[in-house]
Amino acid sequence: MSAIALPGAASARAPFWRRLSSQEMLLAVAIVGLAVIVGLVNPRFLSANNLADLLLGNAYIAVAAIGMSMVIITGNIDISVGALIGVLATLSGSLAVAGAPIAVTWLAPLVLGVAVMGLQGVIVAYVGIPAIVVTLGMLSILRGGLISVTGGKWITDLPDAFHLADIEIFGFIPMPVAIMVVATIVAAVWMRWWPLGRAIYATGGNPEAARLSGVSPHRTLVLVFMLHGFFAGIAALLFATQMRVIQSTTPSGLEFTIITASVVGGVSILGGVGTVVGSTLAAILIAEITSALVFINVSPFWTHAVQGTLILATVIADIERRRRRRAGAVR
């Protein structure tokens, strides 16, 4: 949907609701619609507690999806983020237990996340190895490394101050939710109003044209991976600081949940299009679906199957839409 600029109305701004892309509208409607339907079947779904828990517990996925969306918009992918989050969470917890200052336990994951992802970005951009291969290898390095270093030990006795996620802003907004909202807004604004943010879309849309317009696809790609690492670090913090005990394992299937959020949120695997508002909304929707399954007495073991179907349907629809658009150019 685009706002039609009528001659003479040059600076008229389209009303807010029309500026959201159709995918975002669709997601918002789905979130509300699903809540209503499930609420009719089982009213306990709509209890304030449940909804709050839903948002609180899954905010970290939305945050991680911000970085993932950026990576996919440039036409690449990353399947190592789940393992990275596991590593960063364990790092943070270990530092806290070892008595490091709280600020360090919160900053260290960010730094390491940026470094690890940045390295992958360099290999993908400058050596030209497909991202799927690099991140597949890194996934195993991280996963294996984590287990061999920690032996799978659980981290207990976390100091109280560690639990960033327990903090409530203005007394009632949980920190994870606040961070999710703030991060989404900041990222969305940056990607819309800052030239470097637009460079992400240019690199993904047509790298050759981007180069000729003065955008460096290589540098943009490395930057995007580094940002992805940063958001993965924040996600790891939100994930770790919610728990009393940190299992030194990598959450299984996390990367695919994050990818699903991005893709269902409107980010196309072919690159060049998508928004972080969309991926955050999609992350909320996915969390809602997972919770809804429980409330309508469907076993939670079907969650991944539902996710897989969602992502498959979205991707196929995207390809079909592109094919149809190319076949019959409107104007």
Partner: protein, 510 residues
Amino acid sequence: MSAAQDTPTPLLEVRGIEKSFPGVRALSGVSFDVRAGEAHALIGENGAGKSTLIKIMSGVFRPDSGSILVEGRETRLATPDDARRAGIATIYQELLLFPELSVAENIFLGHAPRAKGGWIDWGAMRAKAEELLASLDIDDLPADETVGALSVGNRQRVEILRALSHDARVVIMDEPTAALTEADVTRLFDIVRRLKARGVAIIYISHRLDETFAIADRVTVLRDGAYVGTRLTRETNSGELVQMMVGRRIDNMFPKTEAPIGEPVLEARDLVRRPLTKSISITVRAGEIVGLAGLVGSGRSELAQTLFGVWPAESGEIRLMGEAVTIRSPAEARARGIAYVPEDRGSQGLVRPMSVLHNLSLAALTSLTHGGFIDRAAELRLAEQAVGRFGVKMRSLDEVAGRLSGGNQQKIVLGKWLANQPKLLILDEPTRGIDVGAKAEIHRFMGELARAGVAILMISSELPEVLGMSDRVLVMREGRVVAEFDRAAATPQAVGAAMMGDTGAAEKAA
């Protein structure tokens, strides 16, 4: 060159440009210039060097020797960025746009107007985009529209606007009308006139002479990499230009030997395949060479690919040897004895990383395979035969096909298809980019094949080749066959005129 007006310093000038690539001398001693407010057309056949020349002017290639002057000052254009900074903008056929971004953003990507603090000022961007649109009197293209949804004509407009947003003084357009509708072409001309009025210099590469006369002030002809001449368009005519483009070398080049012409092998009636094949009827007989002439974009390759099953026909009838058939895939076409040597050797004809041996057997695998297994001895025999027959120069059959010269590569593509002993051979630009010696050899083979009873449909943009080799010449324009000449009546003037759409001159010359 007449100097009826005073000649100010050209905005862009090249002198004595030489450029060679391995095996091919693309440009030899070409000079060219363009002035402010002028539209200067650059014409010539395929392979004449136009594309190389504009790539040099755009900073994509660097000349082996010669000089480039921008507003009289000698300049080095080592990269496309240098050209852009010098005020030269090039609009290629493959448009370099971002399909998911808006018109305004496409225009200003990389140099968007900024508000305080460095943020992008979308309002200013849209306003400036609308200014640019208005300056070219475009009132039906919203600045917020997504480029991917636009027609080719509108996308081209966006590209032109992008050039203008960089304050381009020289705009080079490479075959801009190849994919446009008539209405779009008219609008493009309007834009060109406005640009001229603003003092922008336009270099306009095209095959279409009628367009040249419509908007160009001067026209320069290249032929085989050499400069032939420059004329004021109002002081010349299409006949003279065609002669300059084509030259008079027809007789000695192509040893046309007579072949007995037999029954029709291919009879196609009213073939339609959107968007480029509008309604084609064509007949090719055994032993006959039918030349298919036409401008780039006239739909010749698309017709060939429809006959070959790459884009199956939507309606119409095809008869092979009198039998009605439907051809829905290349495999079906091959099974019925049709062979197609494609236009683009590198990406369609050969698998360059594979060996010569494997390339030669690629189209004949089904006949070389028994129970799934390839008969290697038979494959080797086939390859040795082909290589011997065509005189392919290579180090061994295991050599990577991509390393051979253009002529030898083409022989392999031919050899690959002749292994199937086709009854109808469709050749699409068979000698493009090939040295003279190999060209002559390929023409000799064509003669042999015709004598052996193969029906040959030859698509070519080189008039001498078409005129020299064909028993009949068909001219295509915008998806239809618009003229047919038998060998005697096919003169450069007649065929050239029919290609350009100048039916009056065509009849006069026939």
